[in-house]
Symmetry: C2
Subunit: 375 residues, 2 copies
């Protein structure tokens, strides 16, 4: 069973390779063991799988434990069904009732899409929700229906405001997708901080030092190890992530900060969910998400859009490069290349994640075997 692969997208010096199908079955089985409905388990596992395929490793199967523990401890309600609070021709407000974030978000985006098909644009918001995985999944749902999709969410507080030294709001992700052609979407999926905590975790898996300028240390003392930094960041001690644009205002840190807070306003106060430091309480999460879809048919039309968009992306990609660059990418392209490779060759999981899965496997008596090792 042990084959040696060597491909450049492996996340860690030492990894095991798993097929996406095996990981997905494993995830579904574990979630069901802690009470999730079959359909919910499938949807959550589908979002995790997309993250693993696209190389967003920290948001893939590595997060399964979080959902399983949440359900097992009753912090996430396995029996919740999304409840519609308010609805109009173009808008819907949904209460996730403290259920898993993914099924509520898929439900919400499908409503946004339907509304956009009738009136050009639709908005669906979700309160009382949990972590929804990668924002890009939901924007891509719209793309699959030939629609534009936008997805934003607030998140646990890990970012310091410009000129601030404390974690006051989340990495509040923003995803925007455009259906470029049946094979490709333009898919921007970004934290509004320079990096997410997940990115730090990937550096830890790889035993690499993180670059300067990603985090702020309110003590100014000697730096700790990356493991300690990540652990303290989670506890909101000492460290915070910096907004996109970096420290201060000179390189535009106030813009990343502004974007993050705008998303928090929309996903928190505007819809009635938690915000800032109050998105997670002792009883569980009250995260908010917002999904918007726009239908090309109400504007220039899909065929025109796709022809022009393709021209635009081609012009960008054939423009003059800096000397050290191989290629100019458009958002979503790199992930899409990684996904192709990983579908074929498997998902490389660092040993730290494998250990976690083994524990889940033992606890819930769900088998999982790897395809190959990579040393």
């Amino acid at each position: 069973m042990a084959k040696i692969f060597n491909y450049k997208t492996l996340t860690a010096p030492k990894s095991l390779l798993y097929s996406i199908e095996d990981l997905t079955s494993f995830s579904i089985a574990c979630l069901k063991k802690v009470g999730a409905r079959q359909s919910d388990a499938r949807e959550v596992s589908g979002v995790l799988a997309m993250a693993d395929l696209k190389g967003k490793d920290s948001h893939g199967i590595a997060r399964l434990r979080r959902y399983v523990d949440g359900l097992a401890q009753g912090k996430i309600n396995a029996q919740a069904t999304p409840k519609i609070i308010k609805e109009s021709s173009g808008s819907i407000l949904i209460d996730a009732q403290n259920g898993l974030g993914q099924p509520a978000s898929i439900f919400a985006m499908s409503h946004a899409i339907e509304k956009a098909k009738k009136g050009g644009i639709g908005i669906a918001t979700v309160l009382n929700s949990n972590h929804f995985g990668i924002a890009g999944y939901y924007a891509d749902l719209a793309c699959q229906k030939n629609m534009v999709g936008i997805a934003v969410s607030n998140a646990s507080p890990q970012v310091a405001p410009t000129f601030g030294a404390e974690s006051m709001y989340g990495t509040n992700p923003l995803a925007i997708g455009f259906p470029i052609n049946p094979q490709h979407s333009f898919l921007l999926d970004m934290a509004t901080s320079i990096v997410s905590r997940g990115r730090l975790e990937r550096y830890r898996w790889q035993s690499k030092d993180i670059p300067e300028g990603w985090i702020i240390d309110q003590t100014g003392e000697n730096p700790e190890s990356l493991s300690e930094i990540i652990s303290n960041l989670k506890k909101r001690i000492r460290y915070s992530l910096l907004p996109l644009g970096g420290f201060g205002e000179t390189t535009g840190g106030h813009k990343g900060y502004g974007l993050g807070v705008a998303i928090d306003l929309l996903c928190g106060p505007f819809i009635g969910a938690g915000w800032g430091r109050h998105v997670y309480g002792p009883k569980g999460a009250n995260l908010g998400h917002c999904f918007i879809s726009i239908d090309p048919e109400f504007f220039a039309g899909l065929p025109y859009f796709q022809i022009e968009a393709q021209k635009m992306l081609s012009e960008l990609q054939s423009s003059k490069k800096i000397k050290t660059a191989e290629k100019i990418y458009f958002p979503g392209e790199k992930s899409s290349d990684i996904a192709k490779l990983r579908k074929e060759k498997g998902i490389p999981l660092p040993l730290m994640v494998v250990d976690d899965l083994k524990k889940l496997s033992l606890t819930y008596d769900v088998p999982l075997s790897c395809e190959a090792t990579y040393a």
Copy 2:
């Protein structure tokens, strides 16, 4: 008449002070002399005035010449009226018919607001348009009606893609406004590049060197003067602005690039306007803008939103600061402070801008006198 003022928001070591009323009357009069309708001249001048009041000097009266020249040369159609191409319950597509960008944009945002009042959200897009001034003006229009406002536009190509060395798309601004209370809006108004070219112009007025990391020089040769940089940037020679997040991907430059291109896709191919290098042609501009409004009443309601939003901003502002900082701001707050000061004390214009206005004054026989000098 010459009083000496000394307040910290003056833009240049040597400035003249003008009252906002005088500048606005001057602007209206000049625009009318080149054929603009009274109502259009008022709207354009109102947008310029807001920029001057809020300290966005490069987008204020300093841009008047551009509009006046455009109208005088027939590149902007003084007689154009916005024409509705498509309309639905939630969306509208408007042809500005190569008229001034501001009246078409005000018209569009008012439609987005009306649609949002009926269905929760409304979108209005404008093609075949010209420069619309500061994006924040339109987001703020929605805030004044107690609505959320979003405004984006494409712009002349000045930014290099991540790993690119040529100007392929614009500083494509994004503005988001939330009505926090009758006195204050949360108003994020940002170029998706680290800085706009206007920011470079302000450095030139102040005879200051620009910080490293704002622009990329495809030659790698000895740097030229800031005047030469600005002039070449306009001509798309040698220099480009860098996306928010900076050079490469390490500090998230691909995110700023992604945002800029997403706005270009929406304002260009999606609605049928120009994009990338093709927003300005020999016959004039074909810029695109997009405006979205969302009504709080379809979500948590305005009173709830305003109470929670105020709490959220207060928590941010009372959080721990870095040692060297006086204050943590929220987007729009600094500009709003500057506006208060400038309403009272006048708008400081650097001599370079004053010279330009003097030429306009002579050419079109419209008087303009300053209130005081500041040395």
